[in-house]
């Protein structure tokens, strides 16, 4: 099938989410090109139509992969960045050598950048010449995408052109619905911070709290997130949508196959493990606390998570978290 630059979706990263997204789009007849720096991954996709994340699934033949960043940049104008938050800066630095201002890029990274609390859309603008950026976020799991289950994401960008293109290229009737908006800060913060609050829910589940208390914790977490987001210039509504509450619910799923690392970390903390973690959820908790401190906002749930992570509260005393939530406000 001939690939036109304007209709090809370039996916940065051939991990589980990137490949699953490519598979969903490929089955819908869309052209996709995955960019990976690993030759073995590329060879497997191009030669065997397989990937290590889903070894039992045969990928659509329309999916192509490349290690050549120049080819990747020449082939696709609309890019989806789907790499891990730890490697995003270095991957973008390489991408930045080939892309130009004509490219549009959204990222699907539900976390802050590798250091500190920088939002990924800002890292894209720092490391590449791309200015037309956005974010896709929400409770879509790679497995759902690969299975073709109906799912929804939110796409936020200051540029209407980006959200228009995202809908044109990523929406698939009855499988993928995209809701669009301009609240980039909100979508990125909601997506990243929900990882931090997921730790709290894992912790509460590890403590064996009842479903009522669990529901209170989730609700209070969404509320605290929205207050922090508003103070950072986001719309509070965003935190109760797919990027915030939607993400929180799916990440705190108790089902083993969907269990997120942040949720598992919460469970581990109860048994005295996981202190000093530098995973996405932990980094988000610390970043959120720094943001709150900078704007003089009280965030009891986040503060308690960080105290537990830092070993200031004994694992056995983690019930403090639940008590804090019940008393907050």
């Amino acid at each position: 099938m001939p690939q036109s630059t304007q209709d090809t979706i370039g996916i940065v990263g051939a991990g589980a989410f990137g490949v699953a997204l490519a598979a969903m789009l490929g089955r819908a007849g869309r052209n996709t090109l995955l960019w990976s720096q690993r030759q073995d991954v590329v060879d497997k996709i191009n030669g065997e139509h397989r990937c290590s994340s889903f070894p039992d699934v045969e990928l659509p033949a329309t999916i192509r992969a490349s290690t050549d960043v120049e080819e990747f940049a020449d082939t696709a104008r609309f890019l989806v960045v789907a790499v891990s938050s730890e490697t995003v800066r270095e991957r973008l630095r390489v991408l930045g050598t080939a892309v130009t201002g004509r490219h549009l890029a959204v990222h699907a990274i539900g976390a802050f950048g590798p250091q500190g609390d920088m939002r990924v859309s800002r890292i894209i603008s720092q490391e590449t010449p791309i200015l037309r950026t956005g974010v896709i976020a929400g409770p879509s799991m790679a497995k759902d995408l690969m299975a073709g289950s109906g799912t929804s994401l939110v796409c936020a960008s200051e540029f209407d052109e980006v959200t228009r293109e995202a809908r044109r290229l990523l929406e698939v009737p009855s499988i993928m619905r995209l809701y669009t908006g301009r609240d980039v800060i909100g979508a990125e913060l909601a997506s990243a911070l929900s990882g931090a609050y997921t730790i709290a829910i894992g912790l509460a589940d590890g403590l064996g709290v009842g479903i009522g208390t669990r529901a209170v914790l989730i609700t209070r977490a969404a509320r605290e997130m929205s207050k922090l987001g508003s103070a950072m210039g986001a719309s509070s509504e965003t935190f109760f949508g797919l990027a915030g509450l939607g993400n929180l619910l799916v990440r705190s799923s108790v089902q083993g196959e969907h269990r997120s690392p942040s949720y598992s970390l919460g469970l581990d903390l109860v048994s005295g493990n996981g202190m000093g973690s530098h995973g996405e959820g932990s980094r988000a908790a610390r970043a959120g606390l720094r943001m709150a401190s900078a704007v003089g906002l009280r965030v009891p749930v986040l503060a308690t998570i960080v105290r537990i992570l830092d070993g200031e509260i004994e694992a056995a005393a983690a019930a403090e978290l639940v008590k804090t939530v019940a008393e907050s406000e």
Partner: protein, 541 residues
């Protein structure tokens, strides 16, 4: 005159008067055509709505004013409002054209090369001679040098000069005083930069002395009383066309003088947005067209002419609504001369810091006029304007986001390129110490304290100055110290600040009594303190 800038780039404004009529025609043509095209869609875009908004806005304005001329104008707008419903489309188009032409002609400036030469070759020595009270006639010939010492210039001038030859410059300075345009004009001339056209509040043209120069040096009139959107469209189109034609321009993105003396953070993006529009228009006509370079500039005064009026206005309840101040120090020639003699005549009275040029998308530009991305790689600015098909196209929403990004970039450059002088340093230190010693953290409550109630021990004030200096040095993104202040003893800096702050203003901001420094004017202290307001510093001593 700097020989490095090619005559073509330097003398573009000299061709302005020949082009003036065609510029006005082009403004009228574009604005009217755009409205006729939109009107075809009906609803809120119909000509009746557009004309009605003009009439309604002008009636509201003129009903509050007096004078025979205004009454006559009021009648004309009432008449239009009454007959609008019965007018034919042709009559509406004619009315629209007439209004647009009237305002385009009112806005359009004028440039007289003779006045420009006079202002640059004769005025500075004369002004310098006047400003320097100890100069005798013999020293007159050296006066230009004296002025050069009063106003220091810093920044990548070679890069800016080269960009000037490769494209159209848009200078975007911070705005503290109505003297900014004079100080900047001097700095530009000394740096070999060409004359620029700029928008000046129409109220400034009421000062006969200033009006003469502004009317002949390319300034165009911005009438801030005109609240209807058609006026803003005419103004923006005028600016767009000037940029397209390569006339170097100047905007004050702060919109008005900073009342608080805080470094501008929220910028007015209207005229700034014309850079992207002009670029789209130029590229659509010719892909090799001139580029547009935005040059951030900070103007850092040791003392500000209108400080007392501005801070009073800021603190007053009505401060935010008084956009146009017509009765400040700038309106009194005596105060300007007094200010100039007592402050501008001194070495380092003002520092004009030019920043690295930017493209309309906020990328820094190098000495070859090439845009560089965050990694320092060359990027083609036209690529930001390409659509899916690779064509440069107009997209109002897209370009408004680019302009917001550019505004954010400018605001961060303003903070980084702010230069702190003695008055800023000591005023901040004194305010911090006053907070600490009074136990009052709220500024407004602190200001209500009796000004003599606070005696600040000189020794402790020096400690605060030292601590503040360290914080400034550690935060280069929040500004820098004037070079001599890096090594000077703190007590010396305090004495100099006290001396300067006692010189010109009607009240002394600080004064020394024995081992203590007392506050003479909390308002003035607050004003000068605010220059570092964006810097996170608290004295816990």
């Amino acid at each position: 005159m700097n020989p490095r800038v090619l005559p073509e780039a330097r003398d573009r404004l000299a061709t302005f008067n020949d082009a003036r009529a065609s510029i006005v025609d082009q403004v009228v043509g574009r604005v009217v055509d755009a409205h006729i095209e939109l009107a075809a869609q009906g609803q809120d875009d119909s000509l009746e709505y557009v004309l009605n908004e003009v009439a309604f806005s002008e009636i509201r304005r003129l009903e509050k004013s007096s004078g025979r001329e205004n009454k006559k104008r009021l009648g004309r707008w009432h008449e239009l409002a009454h007959k609008l419903g019965h007018m034919s489309e042709a009559d509406k188009r004619e009315e629209l054209t007439s209004i647009v032409r009237y305002h385009a002609q009112d806005i359009a400036g004028n440039f007289n090369p003779k006045v420009y030469r006079f202002a640059n070759d004769i005025l500075p020595p004369a002004l310098s001679f006047l400003l320097n009270p100890i100069s005798g006639l013999r020293e007159g010939v050296q006066a230009l040098g004296a002025m050069a010492e009063s106003i220091r210039i810093d920044g990548p001038l070679d890069t800016i000069n080269k960009c000037c030859e490769k494209g159209t410059l848009v200078l975007t300075p911070t705005h503290s005083s109505n003297l900014d345009s004079i100080v900047l004009g001097f700095a530009m001339n000394r740096s070999g930069l060409p004359p620029v056209t700029y928008g000046a509040g129409k109220n400034l043209f009421s000062n006969a002395f200033m009006s003469f120069f502004m009317e002949n040096l390319g300034a165009y009139r911005v009438d801030r009383r005109m609240r209807f959107s058609l006026y803003k469209e005419v103004l923006k189109e005028y600016s767009t066309i000037l940029l397209e034609r390569g006339f170097h321009s100047l905007f004050f993105p702060g919109g008005t003088r900073s009342r608080s003396n805080l470094v501008e953070k929220r910028l007015k993006l209207g005229l700034l947005g014309t850079t992207a529009t002009a670029m789209v228009n130029s590229l659509q006509k010719d892909s090799a067209s001139r580029r547009i370079f935005i040059v951030p500039v900070t103007i850092n005064y040791r003392l500000v002419l209108e400080a007392e009026t501005l801070i009073t206005d800021y603190l007053a309840d009505t401060g935010k609504s008084r956009y146009i101040i017509e009765d400040d120090e700038f309106s009194r020639l005596g105060r300007i001369v007094d200010f100039a003699r007592k402050t501008l005549a001194h070495e380092g009275a003002a520092i004009v810091k030019f920043g690295t040029p930017l493209d309309p998308f906020g990328n820094e530009v190098d000495e070859n006029g090439d845009s560089r991305d965050g990694q320092g790689q060359i990027v083609d600015p036209a690529s930001y304007l390409q659509n899916r098909e690779g064509q440069v196209c107009a997209d109002t929403q897209r370009d408004s986001v680019y302009t917001r990004m550019l505004g954010r970039k400018l605001a961060s450059v303003y903070r980084r390129d702010t230069v702190f002088l003695e008055t800023h340093l000591v005023a901040r230190a004194a305010m911090e110490l006053a907070h600490r010693r009074s136990g009052i953290s709220d500024v407004l409550r602190l200001m209500r304290l009796s000004e003599t109630a606070l005696a600040l021990p000189s020794q402790e004030l020096a400690e605060v100055v030292d601590a503040l200096r360290k914080v400034i040095v550690a935060n280069p993104d929040a500004g820098s110290l004037e070079e001599s202040l890096l090594s000077k003893p703190a007590d010396e800096i305090i004495q100099e600040a006290i001396r300067f702050m006692s010189k010109y203003h009607t009240k002394r901001a600080l004064y020394q009594v024995g081992e203590h420094v007392r506050i003479g004017s909390m308002k003035l202290l607050y004003y000068y303190r605010n220059r570092s307001g964006h810097l996170n510093f608290k004295w816990e001593g």
